[in-house]
Symmetry: C4
Subunit: 256 residues, 4 copies
């Protein structure tokens, strides 16, 4: 495998779905929010993305089986006239290098374009070093016309001058080149913890914007599960790393 | 997006324009000089360059909208017989890796070649660690025949033996392989400050060479604005970075 | 050479061979086990893999001749009805970058697919920082149905939550995308030594699973030879490196 | 330019020339030896190699003109029946990354293959940390049959177990895959100085092997010139680097 590949596993009929991105990032805010929404809405799996730019490894799951690092597409079909179909991109990883972010985002937009997506919502965290009781949600848009709607849903536009790195930013920037509009919602977060409260703030805003109902009572529980899984993986990794660091080199590497 | 792309936004009629490069570099001398010239001459936008070798992010602008990292082409049509049409390449970034400098410079020359450009001026800074009241302008050429003209305009050729890294150098070197002549003008600069005075020295020389009139009175003001924008972006970045550094890894990364 | 290449040196008739991977990794457990098995079974050379992702060098062998860094395919034909043909991938190196692991693993699977391989065994070490008298063998599978057979052969499934990095993991993950099942056997190992005892534990399990007889008496001797060869290469390298570190740069590298 | 390119500047008639490599490396031994041989034999320029894997810069030469980083091919036609035509590859740089070594070496062999080269001599240094009065010359070969001839010319084969990194090694290894034989001659050298004496030892051996006469009296003088040039470039570079290190970042680079 030498470039990013998407395998679609089902044929979904979607009507100009809104793309919602929730890949790992600051405070895992976007990931927690999108993963929770997929579970609560009972969104269905659409396909899988593999990439040579993800870590070259498999994960040993609790049942002893392995799986590749991957991102996943899910979809949800609107149930009311006021709603729109939704397409989700979530998963394990963003690109490992600057260049690969462009490739992975491009492939994601290829799928969105296949379904004639016109609107993107990207979800992330915005680190402030504080742990507010009620995290704000900061916004950024590709088009000023979306600001009014966002402000009414409680989004603040006070953070400017900085950048939005990775999928949350590039989807907006590269989507614009393909004629898609986009909005980034960033939950205020401390930055050094996995932040379910910030994800909740983001989902409260997103529900209003999308006119969908997402039960938020299990969000905190899910965040705890995610945290435990990550903690376990980290311990497994550290044990191996510590042992690995002194392994003799496998051969000579520098003589001219 | 897996390689550097240029989108031309208008059809300009240009007669063998001189290409002027002012991308970010030492003291931002080249960038300040070229950006100022574009504003003062009221040069028009020709097109935009995007590249997977620019940072994978968007910038949140003051109005809350985002834009991709990008470089831009501008053009200006000669108003007198003694002048030549001008083509500018300016923008946010140079390539992030050695190899990408070659790709980005190649794409820049593709556009110049489209318009049958025969002559290149690249602008940059030359760090000396000093802050002279009247910065010198050092030169380098692809062809000795240009030295006389440059010396008469006040350019010094005392700095040799070193290299010119990035677009300012590669445009000359790769341009030569395509039959273009080129000149690099480097304003003497301290190296650790954004240096409007050095940019002014460079523009004084360039005006004489191109026989154009560029009002320099607003240059210092523009440099201050650039500096403020960069300072703001840097603060935003640092706040996020500090918060980010301790984020738990998103998964295991090293077991064999 | 700009991508990984395999040259097959003979035409072997193989019937859906099982692929066995033993490339360098933790404790060299997988490498020792697979190399030993090849020697004892008198498996024959099938072909050679070269890659621009291996270190850019040749090794000076004891007889003064040089050879490129390379991986090698070997094969062995079943001698009894209860056995299956075997295909081995062993050698000097894994990929030097995350992306190259995907390319090299992909090429390995191309060869396996040519012979209609349906099952993969990958061998490696699992570092615990301990030196047990009788190292355990930990397992991971692509399909739960293989666990019973493995448990009966003495394999433990107590290690989960972590990852399997490099060829041992990616072969399973990418093989699955091509319809192949796979098992990873990881010998418990300290992590900082070349571990023949762990390789022996792995081979004891593997023999049962494959129903082949591999004499293990010479394994320790072979591991010592490997250790000496690596030690010699490392000393040669360090001598050169120490001398090299202060070499004057070959030219200027950073001026803008 | 996105891959390594060679431009041939003349049409030389060569009869299965021997390729001689002398690119920068340990002690600059190979470079000094090959450059000197080209000058003394009055070998002629055949062509130029440019590569995106060379540093992205031009050098300002003493006359104020610039030139790209490049490697060069030279050729020399045999004058006696006992001699063979020679093809040289010399220049500024080896590849900047492991992978690029493979690409650059491959392109070099493409040219050699065009002229039906069957034999390669690669020249380099072998660091010992000592400064012997009479440096030894160590050898490595692709084929044992060449050892007798080399021993008679004074070459030692006592250094084994290590590697030969970069062009000097890869040309032998990759050349072998194309049916070419090869020999690497490594002059004993301290490792931290530019070593004309070691280059002299290498040339004394090479003269015997090739049956050519190379006046060695000017070698030391040439080495001094090379050293001065490099020293000048290094100073220019350091001045710029010191100044550069504190340049404000050109924009934000990390927020998610």
């Amino acid at each position: 495998m030498i470039s990013t590949e998407v395998v679609l596993e089902t044929e979904a009929r979607l009507d100009k779905p809104i793309l919602i991105e929730g890949l790992p990032g600051l405070g895992l805010v976007g990931k927690l929010a999108a993963d929770h929404m997929i579970k609560e809405l009972k969104a269905e799996k659409l396909g899988t993305m593999h990439s040579p730019h993800f870590p070259p490894q498999v994960i040993i799951q609790d049942d002893g089986t392995v799986r590749l690092m991957q991102n996943e597409f899910y979809y949800w079909q609107a149930e009311k006239k006021t709603q729109k179909d939704l397409l989700f991109i979530v998963g394990d990883h963003q690109g490992a290098t600057p260049t690969s972010h462009y490739e992975i985002t491009g492939k994601t937009l290829d799928i969105a374009e296949m379904y004639d997506t016109k609107m993107l919502y990207t979800l992330g965290g915005f680190a402030t070093g504080h742990l507010p009781r009620k995290p704000k949600v900061f916004g950024a848009v590709t088009n000023k016309k979306h600001q009014k709607m966002l402000r009414e849903a409680g989004v603040s536009f006070e953070k400017t001058g900085g950048g939005i790195v990775g999928a949350a930013g590039l989807l907006l920037g590269l989507g614009q080149l393909r004629g898609m509009d986009g909005v980034c919602l960033m939950g205020e977060t401390h930055g050094q913890i996995i932040d379910a409260r910030s994800a909740k703030s983001v989902l409260e805003v997103l529900q209003k914007l999308l006119k969908v109902d997402v039960n938020l009572s299990r969000l905190e529980k899910r965040a705890k599960d995610t945290e435990k899984m990550i903690e376990k993986a980290r311990k497994a990794e550290q044990q191996q790393k510590a042992a690995f660091s002194a392994l003799p080199a496998e051969g000579p590497t520098y003589i001219r």
